[in-house]
């Protein structure tokens, strides 16, 4: 579930990726593609392009590598379309293919499998947040500044691939926990554990740095901005 409002009242995370087609329309397109209208495959995958790129990027963390992985995965999806039975959503099925392709490339590049993480009690291990005295909300308009985007990318790069995958699928693409579990091939419970750890890791990596972030062009503007957020936490 991705609520549009956080429980504290601020705008909340990414809107879930919207499918351009209903399940019935997707089925119709697939049947027509399988019937020989191959060009319709372009139309079928177009709504998922960004999400598929992000899935590959979550594993490979390099633009060119992620792009190559998506291209190869999409061709594999086209070749295997007759095997799509509609038990999963199309975007989940496509995401599985992209993740498999990206993981395979990751293994070849590193000469080793993705290290399985020892996952256990979410309260165990060193997943403690950065303790801050306070936090001044950074509005999304600050993303126009490259240094902020760079900091977010840098923190993401420090996560394990497994944690990065769930964070990107869930919090960047807006997939549900169930879809994230289906796409990554793990249980919903493990998705929640990984999500917890990934989110706290991001807070720990970024909290101290961004805690002193200064809004562009504002001197003491935070107080005015916060005061303007009536009822904001």
């Amino acid at each position: 579930m991705i609520p549009t409002e956080g429980q504290g009242g601020e705008p909340r995370m990414a809107p879930a990726e919207s499918a351009a087609f209903s399940a019935a329309r997707e089925r119709e397109l697939i049947d027509r593609i399988l019937g020989g209208e191959r060009e319709l495959f372009h139309q079928l995958i177009q709504p998922y392009e960004r999400g598929l790129y992000l899935a590959a990027y979550s594993v490979l963390m390099k633009q060119e590598d992620a792009e190559d992985a998506v291209q190869d995965a999409v061709i594999k999806a086209f070749q295997g379309l007759k095997n799509f039975r509609g038990e999963a959503r199309l975007r989940t099925w496509l995401t599985v293919i992209v993740l498999n392709e990206a993981r395979s490339r990751w293994r070849k590049a590193r000469g080793e499998p993705l290290e399985p993480l020892a996952e256990g009690d979410p309260e165990s291990g060193d997943y403690t947040p950065a303790v801050l005295a306070d936090w001044r909300f950074i509005p999304s308009r600050e993303l126009d500044r490259q240094e902020l985007r760079r900091a977010l990318h840098g923190a993401m790069a420090q996560l394990s691939p497994e944690h990065r995958e769930v964070l990107i699928l869930r919090d960047v693409r807006g997939l549900s926990v169930a879809e994230t579990a289906a796409a990554t091939g793990v249980s919903e419970g493990l998705v929640k554990v990984r999500l917890f750890r990934a989110r706290l890791s991001m807070q720990k990596l970024l909290g101290p740095e961004l805690g002193s972030w200064k809004a562009a062009g504002s001197q003491g503007g935070w107080k005015a901005w916060l005061l303007g957020k009536a009822g904001g936490r």
Partner: protein, 83 residues
């Protein structure tokens, strides 16, 4: 306060997703109202998720779609493949 800080930290992710039971949610909110450090942890975590969820943070490379469909079309043309 019924909950200590570590219990609140352990619930931050589920709390953000609105997936804690009503009674626990009430206890967390009571704690956050009284503990500035946990309030800052919640606010910062939530804020960071808002930022990474913004489309400007993770953008596809310029021309990505054109190259993807170009490669796919070239493959279709070369293979003459049937789906």
């Amino acid at each position: 306060m019924k909950l200590d800080c570590k219990h609140v930290w352990a619930q931050v992710s589920d709390y953000i997703d609105g997936e804690v039971a009503p009674e626990l949610r009430r206890e967390i909110e009571e704690h956050l109202a009284q503990c500035r450090h946990c309030a800052a942890i919640y606010d910062s975590t939530h804020n960071i998720l808002v930022l990474i969820g913004d489309e400007r943070t993770f953008q596809v490379p310029v021309g990505f779609g054109e190259r993807l469909h170009g490669r796919l079309q070239a493959w279709m043309d070369a293979a003459g493949a049937d789906a």
